[in-house]
């Protein structure tokens, strides 16, 4: 069907070269393009006769669902971890604290173990898609073929850089450290490329643009710049950091539960803290990115937005609220446990604020989870004369939900600030004024967010969406960008009154970390289903219709069972990968070194990421 098109595309892609370099170019293109060309031609030829294939008993869509979800989750982890591993390495290099370098290396170890599995699932997914959806794949390859090549090159570069980065870790210490850091930078640049290129394929399916005539590159470029490409890129970039952080946190949590020595407990307690910190750090701006994405979807196609938020997927957002709520509670709970157990004596001064924060979070969660209309069967809805209660009307509306989402972010941010300040006493002369200003700012911000939320009930939706919701987001962001540097400066000169004690967290702290990771994985699975279902019966929205027997979107219950299955499989997979990775460490044990030496935390030193200051020496 598209056979001639692909060949023309290839011709148009071949650059003008000098005769001297012709051989080199020929070899290069032959190596890179030939397998892809053969595959693309095969796919196109097959597409002429077969539109779909099925896997009897299992169903092609179910199989692709599981494999794609595993690949995406692994890819999220693999692309998210290098970001904070590299940041950790920089922190270690700047502060000269070896423990950060060791932590960064441990993160990278998990990354290398997961990398091959990610690629494996990517390969399986590709073969399944070619085999089960030949017509769709022929269409997509006709449009995106040049970006396939870019993707392959990026993958090669990423692999080479990762090998150098991991295997060169010990060799590139001292003078060569800056080069190693540069490799880490490159790793992240290539990882970003690897993420955004396939995002173009997926977002084109959801928000296609008309692909006009032109060269192969012109057409691929036009399709790549579709309206939801960058919103999804940003959202996924942040989400990957969150996923990576919480998974590393869960890994540390489990290792903490299994730890045999106090040293191990201390190390994994600290690692769990860092993982949770990274997860929370990413989680705070994530709703804003999600909001932007939804806005773009509405702007692109209002019907798609309505399908998501008000159509058959409306209840999905109640589940999303529940998962996010539990995640916020889990992350805060872990912070509060940290204050209680790591900073002895602090719990007395923070008991009341913690209780207040818990109440606020629970109330917010209750509001967020309130559905728009009653849970009613079709028969009950018929009796009511609609989905809304005849007397009570509509329940949970967006204005209230946006408000509580912002308040929950504020509370979580304040939990972090509280943890940061616990066990320290400010010594700066202007500390009192700064704290008063911050307190006033927090109260004003909270009131402003609530006022805008209530006001939102009385203005047209477009005003609320375009101005009020944006103002709420900006207010919360303002608090975050004001408080963080101010607290950092305050803590720099602060005196440590209570030493941070690691390795004393209760068992439930480990479970809290695991719970956070499970919530994030479920959330990603849930929103993946939402994005896919928002296309309803289209492979490519409005362009290529799904004419297979699986053109329907399953109900939430069935989908949730699949999400749970996917989450469980992914957790087992990650546990296996990490077990294999640590098995190698045990193999290296020598009689002199029975256990791998955990990174020791200097006594009295609080984590730099929490803005802790070294203990004041008497």
């Amino acid at each position: 069907m598209k056979n001639h098109g692909i060949i023309e595309n290839l011709k148009s892609m071949v650059p003008t070269v000098k005769p001297s370099s012709l051989f080199g170019w020929s070899v290069f293109w032959a190596l890179v393009l030939l397998p892809a060309l053969v595959w693309a031609q095969d796919a196109a030829t097959q597409a002429m006769s077969v539109e779909y294939r099925d896997i009897p008993g299992l169903g092609s869509r179910n199989v692709v669902w599981v494999v794609a979800q595993q690949h995406l989750l692994l890819a999220g982890f693999v692309l998210g971890v290098p970001i904070f591993a590299w940041v950790c390495e920089i922190v270690g290099w700047k502060t000269k604290e070896a423990r950060y370098d060791k932590l960064a290396k441990e993160f990278t170890k998990l990354l290398t173990s997961a990398y091959a599995t990610t690629a494996l699932f990517g390969g399986i997914l590709l073969f399944l898609l070619i085999g089960l959806y030949p017509k769709l794949m022929a269409y997509l390859s006709d449009i995106f073929f040049p970006s396939f090549i870019v993707y392959c090159l990026l993958f090669l570069l990423e692999t080479v850089t990762l090998y150098l980065y991991w295997y060169g870790w010990d060799a590139m210490q001292g003078n060569k450290k800056t080069f190693h850091l540069f490799l880490g930078f490159l790793l992240n640049v290539f990882a970003l490329g690897i993420m955004i290129v396939p995002n173009a394929w997926a977002t084109f399916q959801a928000s296609p643009v008309v692909v006009a005539e032109g060269t192969a590159i012109d057409r691929a470029w036009a399709a790549t710049w579709n309206p939801t490409w960058w919103p999804v890129n940003i959202h996924r970039l942040i989400a990957n950091v969150v996923l990576g952080g919480f998974i590393c946190g869960a890994y540390a949590g489990i290792r903490y539960l299994l730890a045999a020595s106090q040293e191990e407990r201390e190390h994994y307690d600290w690692m769990g803290y860092v993982g949770n910190f990274i997860g929370v750090f990413g989680m705070l701006p994530l709703p804003f990115a999600g909001y932007w994405l939804m806005r773009e979807i509405y702007q692109y196609n209002q019907q798609m937005g309505i399908t998501l938020m008000g159509g058959f997927l409306a209840w999905l957002f109640i589940l999303q609220a529940m998962l996010i709520g539990v995640l916020f509670l889990g992350a805060n709970y872990y912070f509060w446990m940290g204050i209680t157990y790591r900073i002895p004596g602090s719990e007395r001064s923070y008991r009341r604020p913690i209780l207040a924060m818990l109440i606020v979070l629970m109330v917010c969660l209750g509001v967020w989870m309130t559905p728009h209309s009653l849970v009613a069967s079709l028969e009950e809805a018929r009796k009511m004369g609609g989905t809304h209660h005849p007397l009570l009307g509509v329940f949970g509306v967006m204005s209230a939900k946006m408000t509580v989402a912002n308040l929950m972010i504020l509370v979580t941010f304040m939990s972090f600030i509280m943890y940061w300040r616990a066990g320290k006493q400010e010594t700066a002369a202007w500390a009192k004024i700064a704290k008063a200003v911050m307190g006033a700012l927090l109260v004003i911000a909270g009131i402003a967010v609530i006022v805008l939320g209530v006001w939102g009930y009385f203005v047209p939706a477009i005003i609320r969406i375009n101005y009020f919701s944006v103002a709420q987001v900006l207010i919360v962001l303002f608090v975050m960008v004001t408080f963080t540097p101010l607290t950092a400066v305050l803590m720099k000169s602060a005196k440590t009154t209570t030493e941070m004690v690691w390795g004393r967290m209760p068992i439930r702290a480990g479970y809290a970390l695991v719970s956070n990771a499970v919530m994030v994985i479920l959330l990603m699975s849930l929103m993946g289903y939402a994005r896919s279902s928002s296309r309803v019966h289209w492979h490519i929205y409005g362009v290529m219709r799904d004419t297979s027997e699986y053109a329907y979107s399953p109900a939430l219950g069935y989908a949730a069972a699949f999400m749970s299955l996917n989450t469980f499989v992914f957790c087992l997979l990650v546990a296996f990968i990490f077990w294999v990775a640590t098995m190698g460490d045990k193999g290296k044990k020598t009689p002199d070194q029975e256990e791998p030496e955990p990174a020791k935390i200097p006594a009295g030193v609080t984590p730099a990421m929490a803005g802790g200051a070294p203990r004041e020496k008497a």
């Binding site: 598209k2 109640i318 529940m322 109900a555 219950g557 069972a561």
Partner: protein, 202 residues
Amino acid sequence: MSEVALLQLIGLTVVGLGICILLFIKGKFLRVVGFVVIVLGTFTLIALGVPQMASLPPAIETFDIAEVKTPDDLASIGQKIFFSKGQCALCHSIGPSESARCPDLKGIGAKLAPEFIYESLTDPQAYIYLDFRHEGLPKEYPARMPYIHKNPIALSQQEIYSVISFLQKMSGEPISVKIEDVMNIGKENEMEVASLTVNGAP
């Protein structure tokens, strides 16, 4: 047993299994697995508790050109093509719209002759605007409109005339496309038209 009831039964079994692991197994890792299983089972049960609605696709509409009796029939087909196979609504709106990336087509059937619309669809670069917003010679400013009769949209002539009929009708103009001409164009008798009624929930 319905699918929901079966899934609820599985969910309850999974949660029960997790509780048993936590109660009777001492192994720390297995206890974590039990905890995860309880969380996932509970999530599934909650999701099964909300209204279960699947999104079913609308029926694929087909029309027989022989059954087209009036110009309005043709315009009705053109409307469906406009919002589906023709992909016109991806960029154009009918009436003012913030999200439209290309000209608003409201009243276009009254402003332009059908021949000109046909040419705009099949040869969008026939009239090139010149961009004077810079120094030096003006640059050509080609339309972003695709060739509607070529891949990937590839509307047939009959389909293009149907769309023109729709544009004329929605502009309040008499439909000048003649049914006899459309019938004589091609030999294909059936055209598949996919409706853009996206929410097919019953």
